[in-house]
Symmetry: C2
Subunit: 310 residues, 2 copies
């Protein structure tokens, strides 16, 4: 079963980790949102890409959901003492990655090549691809004005009321090498339980990706359970955009693309009411608190996808 | 006694530390070589300036002579695991400084202003000035070709045989704000026991500085004792340039500028043979192994300068 998984940060990384335990390394390609990327302190920071890679490498910080395990913050403490901006928490080991990636990008290398080399150095077996080697910047329209994604997400703690999004530069962006090939060669495309508005939509906004996906069997995991998100502002965004946050809302968001939808057992009744939507449903536990639960969810999704296709 | 001290790295920083204990904060200005500065991993690194500031702030690493005390190297370890260049040892706390300085320089601020702000944050009382806000790069001509200073010094461990030096950009460089004023207002200019070729000469190469110093009482401390240096390649450079390394060679190097010369008691006989040079001599212990010895040397130099002038 060849899978192309679309992922944002924490939730996407967890399911990617589960899929990596279930599929052989040449069966899985993880295509990661880079709309959150930004330049901070002169360094190229790719939060979702790094969360996915750190998770697959087994070095992610499971408590915070971002950054590395057993991390120190000596550089940031030193910078803060000098009056520098410390609102974006970059750990020391994490900084080593950003410094080396920025060095190579400035030398003209591509993000996809650098990511591939880093994954080799970490011993990450599945293929991890940024959605694009070209810059795409998720901008958040809010009642406070237009914000860069990390400003909105980290600096303002997602407090401003959201009015919409745009993915600056997406029209000119090309899918990274291997992205379309992985989608077209896949038996199933899986949308991980990531934020539909700012994790999956930016990937789909890169010209060519949505078109490639349209021809495939697509399965999405709802990041919203009982009207709430496990982590992140997805439910808040739905509400502020005038849509009641629910698994139904997520399903409708993706509807034209979906073959199957994976919904948490907490939303079993909602799933029954959604039977008429023409999308196959898998009701199962979708919260992943351990490696075991990541693997179990991945197994069930792969089995479901196999059954739906046959 | 108002003092303008010219300093490179370790030896200069030690005497600056001693002078800071002897003089009031408005009596001492330390003018620091920036010819060793370079861009590494996209960061502006100023080794001599940082060694002087860290020393005056009481946070220097006394064992290595560079970097900060109680330092970790997590970022560099992480970068090295990814195949990045780790030959220049940047500690985590040190990185915080480089990141913040680079951020401010890229925002158009001047090195002298940034250094001043950092010194305030660290509680450094004396004025510390880079020789210039303009880039000056010490280049080392060697039998292996022309090398950047840090390439020669750190990457090649000073092994290539030296044929000469140039201070790239010095013709267009202007003294940093306050440098000429501090020299002209001083009762004594002190050349710290720093490398004459690559620490003091770059400062003197900035147009206007040598001319300002020429009118002042100048006192130099020999970094060469019994033909050897406490630290660094000064003796090796003299030898490779065909000059027998000695305190005499240092005195002759600066001769036209010198009012007084401070020579180690190990070189007492040499000092006696130098009586005819028209330079006043102070023979004393110049090795500084402790804060006490730094202070004692500074006291003797200040007293000597006072006597010579009166």
């Amino acid at each position: 079963m060849r899978v192309a998984a679309l992922a944002g940060g924490v939730g996407g990384a967890k399911l990617a980790g589960g899929l990596a335990r279930v599929l052989t390394h040449d069966e899985l390609t993880v295509i990661v949102n880079t709309g959150d990327d930004f330049i901070h302190l002169g360094l190229k920071v790719c939060p979702d890409l790094d969360t996915v890679c750190y998770t697959l490498a087994g070095i992610a910080n499971r408590k915070t959901g971002w950054g590395r395990a057993e991390e120190s913050f000596h550089a940031l403490e030193s910078l803060a003492q000098l009056g520098g901006p410390d609102w974006f928490r970059l750990g020391d080991r994490d900084l080593g990655l950003h410094l080396e990636r920025t060095r190579r990008l400035n030398a003209g290398e591509k993000l996809s090549k650098i990511t591939n080399d880093f994954c080799q150095a970490w011993g990450v077996a599945p293929k991890v691809l940024p959605m694009s080697d070209d810059p795409v910047a998720t901008r958040v329209y809010t009642e406070e004005g237009e914000l860069g994604f990390q400003e909105y997400f980290v600096y303002y703690h997602c407090l401003p009321v959201v009015k919409g999004f745009r993915f600056f530069g997406c029209e000119e962006a090309k899918p990274a090498p291997g992205v379309l090939e992985a989608i077209l060669a896949s038996d199933a495309v899986i949308f991980c339980p990531s934020n539909p508005w700012v994790s999956i939509d930016p990937i789909l906004a890169v010209p060519g990706i949505r078109e490639a996906i349209r021809s495939k069997a697509v399965f999405a995991v709802s990041p919203i359970i009982s009207g709430r998100t496990v982590k992140g502002p997805a439910a808040k965004m739905f509400a502020e955009l005038g849509i009641e946050p629910s698994a139904l809302a997520v399903c409708q968001h993706y509807e034209e693309l979906l073959t199957g939808f994976i919904i948490d057992e907490e939303d079993r009744e909602l799933a029954q009411s959604m039977q008429g939507m023409g999308v196959r449903m898998l009701v199962t536990q979708t919260i992943m608190r351990s490696d075991k639960e990541r693997q179990t969810l991945a197994e069930r999704i792969v089995k479901f996808a196999g059954e739906v296709k046959s």
